[in-house]
Amino acid sequence: MATVIELPIQSYEGLIDPDWCPGCGDFGVLKSLKMAAGRLGIAPKDLMLVSGIGCSSNLPGFIHSYGVHSLHGRAVAVAEGIKLGNHGLNVVVTGGDGDGYGIGIGHFIHAMRRNIDITYIVMNNQIYGLTTGQASPTTMKDMRTKSTPRGNAEMPINPIALALVSGATYVARGFSGEPEHMARLIAGAIAHRGFALIDVFSPCVTYNKVNTYPFFKQRVYKLEDDEAYASSDTGMALNRSFEWGDKIPIGVFYKEEIPIYEDSEPVLQKGPLVHQKLGLDGTVFDDLMEEFM
């Protein structure tokens, strides 16, 4: 890898100031993302952020880079298309738990087994924020929300475990209360060749009064602080992914370097599709017609 010229965080200062509620966890993610991009020296023009719909999905509007603020639940699919269309871009998907683990879970799982080279940051506030506080796929069992006044009857989804059994090659978890740590996770994810998931505890200060900053501050510990832990062992990673209680792990659960989807595409070996000239070369057209004579 060529030597990196780091960029100051200001390089990514967006045209618009974030309109999140004061204290929203997403501010931390925005900051960490800028730090990470800066450290990797990614020019804004080479950074493509793709999001769905939700408070968290508004992030691309608040950073100086290309962005597609797509449909609720479709960000990963749009991002896959963009990546295959121009794999010269650093494609980062930023969205919410409802967006990614609810309506978007199909794309999430299938993108992972493809190991396409995308970084996926999920601002997991365990609630539907933009729609004012209904249960999300990660809302804790029995929690009361606007859509579950009696308490949530469903087991929350375990995104880390899903990622581990679905073939993601970089699986991590961050916390908005730890922006520096998260910046390292994001930098690692973007640098990683393959599908990288970063599930982030990003508290919704307005609608989730349970999973708050204090809730996580008291509980989170860093996997890297545990010598016993090896981020190359799926079994170990799976065990830790189920840890939820007094201690909750953050950091890199799993990391593995294997060929990415783009490697399997002969056409992409000639460089980004978008830079390849249009039209068929030489006698190809005639060869195609021959088949029908």
Binding site: L15, I16, D19, P44, K45, D46, M48, L49, V50, I53, N58, P60, G61, H64, S65, Y66, G67, V68, H69, S70, L71, G73, R74, A77, V78, A79, E80, G81, I82, K83, L84, G85, N86, G88, L89, G106, H107, H110, E265, P266, V267, L268, K270, L273, V274, Q276, L278, G279, L280, V284, F285, D286, D287, L288, M289, F292, M293
Partner: protein, 666 residues
């Protein structure tokens, strides 16, 4: 004009398609024109398949009305199609397995029993499909085709399997040829073979090649009949054509990947049928909103819902028109034949790029899956490629780049992600010129009004460059036949037949459904004497669309929604009925009653029975006239039950025959 229609009937897995191919390729190479249509079922093995191959010295536009030679691969096919064979024709079948009840064929129809086992035993182990090859040999002799050419085609078809297989197949065909030569007189067809080479391909293949030729670099899909063939073609030619072909987890992914690729700047396409398209609609609105080009092919099949997946219909126009919420710019094109499929696809890519919007090509099973001979040189490789207004470089001193600039044409010059100094966010939330959301902190009604006007302005601009439809045929014709999509060819042929009967008709065929040439079409129709709209659906979706766009009410309608395509005679008969002022009846005809009985017998009774005599009757307690259909045993023809089918309702009133089946639970 000399022509011949061969019908091949059998079951899925009998290898009909291959046989049809061999025949079609053979006559194509001889310089004849071919039009084929395969009526098949949604089942992998079994079922009833009915392939018609029409050969002619001049171009033909449908599979026609005739049946000259029947190649029957099973008993059902003989029973159901033998009576359709025209006088002077022939019925070719495997006499070891099948037999032709003498009452079935009409006058002067030659029955050609082939003792397949005897004819093929010399070639060692022969697969059942080889009976087809024997039949081809017989057909070639009887219809005066050229055996050597057939042998050539067989050779090309099997060469990848080695010379031994080639020789065996050629020899087997030869056996059929020689045997017929010894035992039958040819049907007396005199052909002049131009031996002009012309491509013989389907609409799906034409769209796929059209895309590749237009520079499509990304194709995503999820298999769905009748669009799957495009995926297969793309997958097989991906490397050759430099296309990334991606099968996705569902159609939601398919369209969103295609839009992503299009947004990144590559020409991208996807294809599906009605059910898959339903899942794509939300994203099509997204493409309209973020102004990213994408081409979607919707190949219609019989609906609603899963419907009749292997049958043709034109009933998805409402869906394609109504795709996604809100008003947004988009283009909808309906190709009429194989050549049109090719050029419509090329055009779709240019329009998508120039106007930065989704273009939907609405095809149907008939135009997409039927193969036909296209004129030599009709399809060319050097097509125009126009990517529209692009911003390839931008300097800050021009001020910030405005991705959605409010221009007169409505088209805002597009910079691809990665271009220096053109950073922007493309949002599905509405936004201002610079891409900043207006739905968020501070919705500004006037900004909203102006961006909506800017987007929609593109429709007028686009309409300006689309060729308006023209009236074909005598301006003063008695009637004007109006159609869209796949019906053009059959209408052309119906008009010729009508002319032969002294009825003059002209034709208005509409290709661009959105935007619509309201003025030009109104202009044309105002001058027409009597308008008749022909379409393959129940509610007349196109007639409604035309009225919505022009206010013009079409006088009469010819509609078909039973899954089988129009044949010229259907249109001719209905036109005559319309002119005669007879109201169309929806009663069940005798032939239909027989088909209904077949359905009932095959699904609920047994393979050993078939419909027998059919007569009119009434019954105590049933308040409609009935068809009484005898159910008889196949071989002995002895009566073993009766089915009562309501003439008006089509209901099967009596289920007594059901008792015949063991364990049947009704």
């Amino acid at each position: 004009m000399r022509e011949l229609t061969v019908g091949i009937g059998g079951a899925a897995g009998d290898g009909l398609d291959k046989t049809g191919d061999t025949l079609a390729k053979t006559v194509s190479r001889l310089g004849l024109y071919v039009y084929a249509y395969n009526s098949y079922q949604s089942v992998i093995r079994g079922g009833h398949i009915w392939l018609r191959v029409r050969l002619s010295e001049e171009k033909v536009y449908s599979h026609g009305d005739q049946l000259n030679v029947l190649i029957a691969l099973n008993q059902d096919s003989i029973e159901r199609h033998a009576p359709e064979v025209n006088p002077g024709g022939a019925i070719i079948y495997n006499s070891d397995k099948l037999k032709v009840d003498p009452v079935l064929p009409r006058e002067n129809v030659l029955t050609v029993p082939l003792p397949i086992t005897t004819l093929t035993k010399q070639f060692g182990k022969v697969q059942p499909v080889m009976q087809n090859t024997v039949a081809i040999g017989a057909l070639v002799f009887l219809s005066g085709l050229d055996f050597d050419t057939a042998a050539e085609v067989l050779a090309d078809t099997f060469k990848h399997k080695g010379q031994a297989v080639v020789d065996q197949n050629v020899a087997i065909a030869r056996a059929g040829y020689d045997y017929s030569k010894e035992n039958f007189v040819p049907l007396g067809y005199e052909w002049s073979f131009s031996r002009q080479r012309r491509p013989f391909l389907t609409g799906n293949e034409a769209m796929a090649i059209g895309a590749a030729t237009a520079g499509c670099r990304f194709y995503s899909a999820y298999p769905m009949t009748p669009a799957t063939a495009i995926l297969h073609w793309m997958a097989n030619h991906a490397d050759q054509c430099g296309i990334v072909v991606k099968q996705c987890e569902d159609e939601l992914a398919v369209i969103n990947l295609a839009i992503g690729a299009g947004h990144a700047g590559v020409r991208s396409m996807c294809a599906t049928s009605g059910g898959g398209f339903a899942l794509m609609t939300e994203a099509i609105g997204l493409a309209g909103m973020i102004e990213s080009p994408v081409v979607i092919v919707e190949v219609q099949r019989g609906g609603p819902s899963t419907g009749i997946p292997t049958k043709t219909e034109q009933a998805d126009l409402n869906q394609v028109f109504g795709a996604s919420q809100g008003d947004y710019p988009r283009i909808i094109i309906a190709p009429a034949d194989v050549t049109d499929c090719f050029y419509s696809t090329v055009e779709a890519f240019n329009l998508a790029d120039k106007y930065q919007l989704p273009v939907t090509i609405i095809s149907d099973l008939l135009v997409s899956e039927h193969p036909e001979t296209v004129e030599a040189g009709a399809l060319v490789g050097n097509v125009p490629i126009d990517r529209g207004e692009m911003v390839t470089e931008w300097s800050e001193d021009k001020g910030p780049y405005k991705r959605f600039e409010f221009t007169k044409s409505g088209v805002s010059p597009r910079a691809l992600p990665g271009t220096e100094n053109t950073i922007y966010v493309a949002g599905s939330d509405d936004h201002d010129e610079g891409g900043v959301l207006i739905s968020d902190v501070f919705t500004s009604p006037p900004v909203r009004r102006k961006i909506q006007e800017k987007r929609m302005r593109k429709m007028e601009t686009a309409l300006g460059e689309l060729a308006p439809p023209t009236l074909e045929g005598p301006a003063d014709a008695q009637i004007t036949m109006i159609g869209w999509g796949s019906t053009r060819g059959v209408i052309v042929e119906a008009i010729r037949k009508l002319a032969a009967e002294g009825i003059t008709a002209n034709q208005l065929h509409v290709k661009y459904l959105v935007p619509f040439h309201t003025n030009e079409i109104s202009e044309i129709l105002r001058k027409c004497k009597r308008t008749i709209c022909v379409e393959a659906n129940y509610t007349g979706q196109f007639a409604r669309h035309l009225r919505a766009e022009t206010g013009i009410t079409i006088d009469d309608h010819i509609r078909k929604y039973d899954g089988e395509p129009f044949e010229p005679h259907h249109i001719v008969e209905e036109v005559k009925a319309i002119l005669a002022g007879t109201v169309k009846s929806t009663d069940v005809t005798l032939d239909e009653a027989r088909e209904m009985a077949y359905h009932y017998i095959r699904t609920r009774l047994s393979e050993t029975l078939r419909p027998g005599a059919i007569s009119l009757t009434t019954r105590e307690g049933i308040d409609e006239r009935l068809w009484s259909v005898e159910v008889v045993t196949r071989d002995t023809a002895e009566k073993s039950g009766e089915l009562l089918i309501g003439i008006e309702s089509g209901s099967t009133h009596s289920w007594r025959a059901a008792e015949l089946k063991q364990g049947a639970s009704g």
